[in-house]
């Protein structure tokens, strides 16, 4: 249970991974002992021709480089910056709304401001320059990548994790205006009018009211769903928009699907010129003494947060899970640092679940949002019949994990479907 909201914005050191799952090559622009500022580009990472900047999230001195695991459990090079707590920024450029007044707080800065109507290209460039386009978390969420085929922007205001952890409504209440503006800016970037926000039926009235006030007359659609019933709502909402089966990568369907947090970051980037220096992370699980939602500086080592939460419980075996409860990944060590792509971390006691035989109840078939038949796919995979696996449209699986979630025999159905997918794909 999340009991607190906390901030952790001043770690002693930040560890920033130089590469990630897509961009495997990095070019470092700074050297040891260099002084860097918040928002300064310290390296570029490359995915083929695509170049993504890595920005410093604190001001301070580069103290070295180290091999560490990242949040995907891969060993990658990290740059280590010692925080001087001064929060000095590089020159920030922002685009202010006519007549609006906005000042980035907490930072020592010099800002260049452009006023007036902002163009699609300006937003896109800005997001790319500040490295915000890579802000996707796991699951169905997409990066903030826009192209001519982008038709819909969908923002999820509810769950970082269906349906167990809800977003912190504090953020929504305090930043409703900024979020709404961020959503509009995303709309400009995609040059689309189709903006949809998904909210929970049982959201606290205050949050809903603030959000409602902010998005009224901005031409944003509000879709209410009932998170008490687990059924891949986001998939259904998006499917209604695009009117066809969804691809594994929503970008292919012309959909940019992201969170309230990303909308807020977009606002900060465009209006305040700020790079992503911090993000909301929910840290939960019975393995920790305190559960909290953090506003945490990117690059903070997870162990710092654990200390701040007064450490682990004395439990023999624990597991550490990042991302969606149904489909995230698990690490065998806590020696990683927070990146922009982490939204939840769960540390809980390791519980072995005993698998029973499949009783062919069909619950997994019923829940599958993609409308495929995971039980039958599992069966085909067990019997090695490739033709049938193809026949059953296995490629439509979006790896949401709901089939495993509902299985009364506790079979990891998703693993079987994945295996089948790999076999034929």
């Amino acid at each position: 249970m999340i009991t607190e909201y906390r901030t952790f914005l001043n770690p002693k050191k930040v560890y920033l991974p130089l590469t990630d799952v897509d961009s495997k090559i990095a070019k470092v622009l700074v050297e040891k002992e260099d002084r860097v500022l918040v928002g300064q580009i310290i390296a570029y990472k490359y995915n083929g021709q695509i170049k993504t900047p890595i920005l410093s999230t604190v001001s301070g001195t580069v103290v070295g480089f180290a091999d560490k695991i990242d949040r995907y459990s891969k060993n990658v090079d990290h740059i280590i910056i010692e925080n001087d707590m001064l929060n000095e920024t590089t020159e920030l450029k922002n685009y202010r709304k006519l007549g609006a007044k906005s000042q980035p707080r907490n930072f020592v800065h010099n800002v260049t401001t452009y006023e007036g109507i902002i163009s699609t290209a300006q937003v896109r460039n800005k997001l790319r320059d500040l490295g915000i386009d890579k802000v996707a978390v796991d699951g169905l969420y997409t990066p903030l990548k826009f192209s001519a085929t982008t038709k819909h922007i969908v923002i999820n205001a509810i769950f970082t994790n269906e349906p167990f952890i809800s977003t912190d409504y504090e953020t929504i209440i305090h930043h409703a205006e900024a979020i709404a503006d961020g959503i509009c800016l995303l709309g400009i970037a995609a040059s689309t009018e189709s903006l949809t926000v998904i909210v929970d039926k049982f959201m606290p009235a205050e949050a809903l009211e603030e959000l409602g006030k902010a998005i009224v007359d901005k031409n944003i659609d509000l879709v209410t769903i009932d998170v008490k019933r687990v059924k891949a709502w986001d998939y259904k909402v998006i499917k209604k928009l695009v009117k066809k089966d969804l691809s594994f990568n929503l970008l292919d369907d012309g959909v940019v699907y992201t969170t309230i947090n990303a909308a807020l970051m977009t606002h900060n980037a465009i209006r305040k010129g700020l790079p992503v220096t911090s993000r909301q992370v929910a840290i939960t699980g019975d393995g920790l003494n305190i559960n909290a939602v953090y506003d945490v500086r990117i690059g903070t080592p997870f162990t710092d947060l654990v200390n701040d939460l007064e450490g682990y419980h004395e439990v023999e075996n624990m597991n550490l899970h990042i991302g969606s409860f149904l489909s995230g990944i698990q690490l065998d060590s806590d020696d990683f640092s927070i990146t922009q792509t982490i939204d939840t971390i769960n540390v809980s006691e390791y519980r072995e679940v005993e698998e029973d035989v499949c009783i062919k109840c069909g619950d997994c078939n019923d829940i599958c949002p993609a409308g495929i038949l995971p039980q039958n796919i599992m069966d085909a995979e067990l019997r090695n019949v490739n033709l049938r696996i193809v026949d059953l449209d296995t490629h439509l699986c979006v790896e949401c994990g709901l089939c495993t979630y509902v299985c009364p025999s506790k079979i990891n159905v998703l693993e079987w479907v994945r295996r089948a997918k790999r076999r034929v794909g």
């Binding site: 597991n319 550490l320 698990q330 029973d356 009783i359 069909g362 038949l373 039980q375 495993t404």
Partner: protein
């Protein structure tokens, strides 16, 4: 700090296979006890030497034997496999007892105990263990046992005077009057199976199991609905006297509440392992079973068609499973519409067959061909 890893998800819902088995177990015990009590009040046929209490004891004996034999076989099998850890707690006994009880509940009171034992042995061994145990069999083991008993020992299992039999006679020219409705609902009558009589209890269990998600309403519900529609159609064609619906209603009602219709809906057809797995195939399966049952009821030599019908349904389950590839709204719509049309058509068709007019037509065609 080191962590153990496993594959996500890290949360599961609260449903569990064992919980479902257990709920079923509970319902079966409930029905069994009810059967024993009801039998103590059922009037014995004339000309037999035992009395009501003897009958009640017989039922008790049958149920105990069924459960016991089933457990013994599974135990022996585990021993031969060298792994009896499953029987360390009551957990391991639930599933075998369920099977044993069901077989006993599906046989008539007159069944000699040795027939019952044989039925359980065949059902559990040939129907379940040979395939690899719970979760792997193709045919519902209960029905394998029951059909074995019915076919091999038909002379020992003769029951007369069940409502369905009277109905069948009525269809062939005899007279039929609905006697005592209350008795019919409580279950105080001679039937082909000891557990199948009390409509009230079965309805109660049906609702309970649906809520507990042990049985799938899409199978059982559609099955009942199909039986309802078809028997109404057939009744309408055969028993309709202008201005008087009582014959039609009587026919429909008897078909719905007597025989094994309800018992099958609760315990037999939505047994998950031997039934299909997706929404659409479940619907097809339910309709196939219902249609076959009605067919046997009106044309077959047997009065009760459900055992054959469900076994046939089990047999074609792998096939039906293969027919549906996606489970989206389009498939659902297509399936439902075709099923509705088929059911309506068949009820009219069966109705006319019964009336004899179609057989005349067939006869004349046959004559022309000869």
């Amino acid at each position: 700090m080191k962590f153990k890893t496993k594959k996500p998800p890290i949360v599961m819902n609260s449903q569990s296979t064992f919980k479902r088995l257990y709920t079923l177990h509970f319902s079966l015990l409930f029905i069994s006890i009810a059967a024993i009590i009801i039998k103590a009040y059922t009037i014995v046929p004339e000309g037999v030497i035992y009395n009501e209490l003897d009958q009640s004891f017989k039922v008790f004996l049958m149920l105990i034997t069924g459960a016991f034999v089933s457990v013994i076989i599974e135990l022996f099998y585990s021993l031969s496999e060298g792994n009896t850890s499953k029987f360390n707690s009551y957990k391991g006994f639930v599933e075998p007892i369920n099977t044993g009880l069901l077989i006993a509940l599906l046989l008539p009171t007159v069944t000699p105990i040795y027939v019952l034992i044989l039925a359980v042995v065949v059902g559990v061994y040939a129907g379940k263990i040979v395939f690899g145990g719970y979760g792997y069999y193709i045919f519902n083991p209960v029905l394998v046992g029951v059909i074995f008993a019915n076919l091999s020992f038909s002379s020992q299992l003769v029951v007369t005077g069940t409502p369905l039999m009277m109905l069948k006679e009525a269809l062939h020219g005899g007279t039929f009057t609905l006697t005592n409705m209350t008795e019919l609902f409580v279950g105080n009558y001679e039937a082909l199976a000891i557990g199948s009589t009390s409509v009230i209890l079965l309805t109660f269990v049906f609702v309970y199991l649906c809520i507990a998600r042990v049985i799938d309403l899409r199978i059982s519900g559609i099955f009942l609905l199909t039986v309802l529609v078809m028997s109404f159609g057939i009744g309408y064609i055969n028993f309709y006297v202008p201005g008087n619906f009582s014959g039609v209603f009587g026919y429909t009602l008897i078909n719905m509440i007597s025989g094994l219709t309800l018992f099958a809906a609760v315990f037999l057809i939505s047994e998950p392992v031997s039934s299909p797995t997706s929404r659409e195939t479940k619907m097809i399966y339910a309709v196939v079973v219902a249609v076959l049952m009605m067919l046997v009821r009106i044309l077959g030599a047997e009065t009760e068609g459900i055992v054959f019908a469900v076994l046939f349904g089990n047999m074609i389950t792998p096939f039906i499973n293969r027919t549906v590839k996606r489970s989206n709204s389009k498939t659902l719509l297509k399936t439902s519409i075709s099923l509705v049309i088929i059911v309506l058509f068949l009820s009219v068709f069966f109705g006319f067959i019964l009336q004899g007019s179609l057989s005349d037509i067939f006869a004349s065609i046959g004559g022309a061909l000869l």
